[in-house]
């Protein structure tokens, strides 16, 4: 199947409107303020994205309150959110929506489309099956009334701090847990990336509802993780593009030695090389969401490829951004460090590039030694 890797006109219009909204509501100062606050995310911005505009449920069917668009549109929003390092639990909610869609959990999807945050309750580095997918041991027992109870800890969960419902893998099954349930405690983690902070979950007989078990649970979880890896690539792409754009803009206006710093050839060549990588990142990121959206048999490979390429690219773009800004790029006041931290946390989320390359060894039939 030949997938279309371009943006549609509608997607470009969507991008423009999201970028305008984020320019107004998620500028540097605001993001830095939220990141430095005890709040895990920007509740106002989330309300705008979910309740006010419905962008948080773009790929949820219309009859469930969503916009009925595809993951290709969702990915465009993620590019813009990455560009703004916006502190909102958009990615986790989107992955949760994918899980719930696979499971046909219409009621939860309606809640989600209504603005409720629903998050997958897994360590942020768990990716599609492979050596990176280490799920913590959460024990499942049974209450007197026969309903399931969960016990255990899950560390380093993203996008869950303000979630209303957690979708938790445990004992080979999937459960929904009310985040405010007695027996569940969320502890905020001081995170490298405070624009997507982590929290730890601890459960002592936390009441849960079984969503699916066995093969059905495994395949839903797997599909959602593939979608997560694919979608994250678009966020990384947007982040890298911001870093390149901002660096170029800085170097055009910053003068040293009587000339714009951007006229120095060594920097020009490094930025040209970065652009070459970015051009390719756009192709692989679009390919990944197109393959996932189309249910292409290559979707798993496409997602692994996207993470293997886009994860390191975003880190490199952010590193060059810091370095080429010189001292100013190393200050707290300049946003470059927020991008650096997000890029690094994103390079680990849903599996590192090394994990995805290991997955590709199987997918591309390149067996190890």
């Amino acid at each position: 199947m030949t997938l279309d890797l371009r943006y549609t006109e509608e997607q470009e219009a969507l991008r423009d409107s999201v970028r305008a909204m984020l320019t107004d509501h998620a500028g540097w100062a605001r993001v830095l303020q939220v990141a430095a606050s005890p709040e895990p995310d920007d509740a106002d911005l989330w309300r705008l994205l979910s309740v006010d505009t419905g962008l948080a449920a773009l790929a949820v069917p219309e009859h469930l309150g969503g916009a009925g668009a595809s993951l290709a549109e969702t990915a465009v929003v993620l590019e813009e959110l990455g560009r703004a390092v916006a502190p909102v639990p958009y990615l986790g909610t989107t992955v949760a929506a994918q899980l719930l869609l696979h499971l046909g959990e219409d009621e939860l999807l309606r809640d989600l489309a209504g603005g409720a945050i629903i998050a997958p309750a897994m360590p942020c580095d768990v990716g599609p099956a492979g050596p990176g997918a280490r799920l913590p041991d959460v024990e499942v027992s049974t209450a007197a009334d026969g309903s399931p109870l969960l016990n255990g800890t899950v560390c380093g969960v993203a996008d869950a701090s303000r979630a209303r419902v957690l979708v938790m893998p445990a004992g080979g099954a999937l459960f929904a847990v009310d985040a405010d349930a007695a027996g569940l405690r969320r502890t905020p983690v001081v995170s490298l990336d405070e624009t997507r902070p982590l929290c730890d979950l601890a459960m002592w007989n936390a009441p849960a509802r079984l969503l699916a078990a066995g093969e059905r649970a495994a395949s839903a979880l797997d599909a959602a993780l593939v979608a997560g890896a694919a979608l994250l690539a678009s966020e990384q792409l947007g982040l890298a593009q911001w870093c390149l754009d901002t660096t170029v803009a800085h170097l055009r206006t910053r003068y040293q030695f009587g000339r714009p710093v951007g006229s120095f050839q060594a920097l020009k060549h490094r930025l040209a090389d970065l652009w070459v990588e970015l051009v390719q990142a756009r192709a692989v990121a679009r390919h990944a969401v197109a393959a996932v959206a189309a249910g292409d048999p290559d979707a798993r490979l496409a997602a692994a490829l996207a993470q293997a390429h886009c994860g390191p690219l975003a880190v490199r773009a952010a590193e060059e951004c810091v370095q080429m800004h010189g001292g100013i790029g190393f200050t707290w006041e300049h946003p470059a460090h927020l991008y650096l931290k997000r890029a690094k946390s994103a390079a680990i989320a849903y599996g590192t590039a090394a994990h995805h390359r290991t997955a590709l060894a199987t997918l591309a039939d390149l067996a190890p030694a």
Binding site: K268, V276, Q280, V284, H309, R357, A369
Partner: protein, 391 residues
């Protein structure tokens, strides 16, 4: 003009022309029917149709088993000489040159680079001096592929050394059969001689072979160079279609060579190759939709680096076996096959990918300035008479 109407036109042409007839006759007739390059004007092999429809025509002819004009052999004519003649040529020049160019009766070569003017093409030293109603040309060109087969060359020469470098150039169509043109094979690191040196000693060119005005050579050459950079090879490759496929097959079929460290390296290269392939697909989709972008430069830069690394890893993977070469004969290959011959050939030949057709350094400058909009470096050579420049 629609794809459907073009298909009908081709079918009509095929109904009247036997694909088994004389090859040249067939190609001339196809040209005269406007079915050569459909975006060219009527009367010059085209129909003024959108360029994106060309594949429709080519595929139809290919499906009918029609002879082609050996496009790889005449690549410089098709890709560089023709669009320049079309844009800057007189009516006579277009009428004289385009038809035999397209039918491959006349092979073209490019006489631009010189030993002293590579990246800095506007610095060429080859002199063209007025001689009655013509010109006398003296100088040396280098890296000229197909010069030994060429009937004509596109030539950039200096007509006014006292003018600043870009202003003193004039563009000519050089008769490669004229007295004083000497073509010598230029042997390269692979041992072969794909390219030539061309020595021009008192070569007389009629003024009718001048393309564009005297002193306007740089503007004309820019048309040529733009077209060089627009060109992207034919169809998109399938996955593992290029050099990565060779490495992957070696990896799969020779388990005894594998090591964990090389495994990750092979995977990294596979990722980069697939990323580049998808980039090419996306670029073609954009071009087909009439949205050309600057991504072609990215592809050339990435391609050069990637082929060098893949072939380097292949040699290393093979160990002592990888150090065996097939031969060092000074062959004169006409078609370049980057994945052909053995691993050492591939590795050596790939070193040329970042030099030929614009070095990677020049391409990075172009990307930085034209795509990213970064400022140019201070220039010290643009306001000075060419003859006074340090060299």
């Amino acid at each position: 003009m629609t794809a459907e109407s073009l298909r009908e036109r081709v079918d009509g042409f095929l109904a009247g022309h036997d694909t088994a007839q004389d090859r040249l006759e067939f190609l001339r007739a196809r040209f005269d029917a406007g079915l050569a390059w459909v975006h060219y004007p009527a009367g010059l092999g085209g129909l003024g149709a959108p360029r994106v429809l060309q594949p429709v025509v080519d595929q139809r002819f290919a499906a009918a088993g029609a002879p082609d004009n050996s496009p790889r052999r005449i690549g410089i004519g098709l890709g560089m000489a023709a669009p320049t003649i079309l844009r800057h040529g007189t009516a006579e020049q277009r009428a004289r040159f385009l038809r035999p160019l397209w039918t491959a009766e006349e092979v073209w070569c490019q006489l631009f680079s010189e030993p002293g003017a590579g990246s800095d093409l506007a610095g060429v030293a080859t002199r063209a001096v007025r001689d009655g109603d013509g010109w006398l040309v003296d100088g040396q060109k280098v890296w000229t592929s197909m010069a030994h087969q060429a009937r004509w060359g596109i030539l950039l020469a200096r007509t006014d050394p006292a003018a600043p470098k870009h202003a003193g150039l004039t563009y000519f169509l050089c008769d490669m059969h004229a007295p004083g043109v000497e073509v010598r094979p230029l042997r390269q690191a692979t041992g072969e001689a794909e390219f030539n040196e061309v020595f021009l000693s008192g070569v007389r060119l009629d003024d009718g072979l001048r393309l564009g005005a005297v002193g306007e050579g740089w503007a004309v050459a820019r048309t040529t160079l733009m077209n060089e950079r627009v060109a992207i090879g034919g169809a998109a490759l399938p996955r593992e279609g290029g050099m990565i496929g060779v490495l992957a097959r070696t990896w799969r079929t020779r388990p005894e060579l594998r090591t964990p460290a090389l495994h990750d390296e092979v995977l990294r290269l596979w990722v980069r190759a697939e990323a580049l392939r998808l980039t090419g697909i996306r670029l073609r989709q954009q071009l087909a939709a009439g949205e050309p972008g600057p991504e072609g430069s990215a592809m050339k830069l990435a391609f050069a680096a990637l082929t060098q690394q893949i072939s380097g890893t292949e040699v290393e993977l093979l160990g002592a076996e990888g150090l065996r070469h097939d031969h060092w004969r000074a062959d004169r290959p006409e078609e370049l096959d980057l994945t052909g011959r053995g691993p050492t050939y591939r590795w050596l030949r790939a070193k040329g990918n970042s030099i030929e057709g614009g070095t990677s350094e020049v391409l990075r400058n172009i990307v930085a300035e034209r795509v990213l909009g970064l400022p140019a470096e201070p220039r010290t050579d643009t306001g000075v008479a060419w003859k006074d420049l340090p060299r």
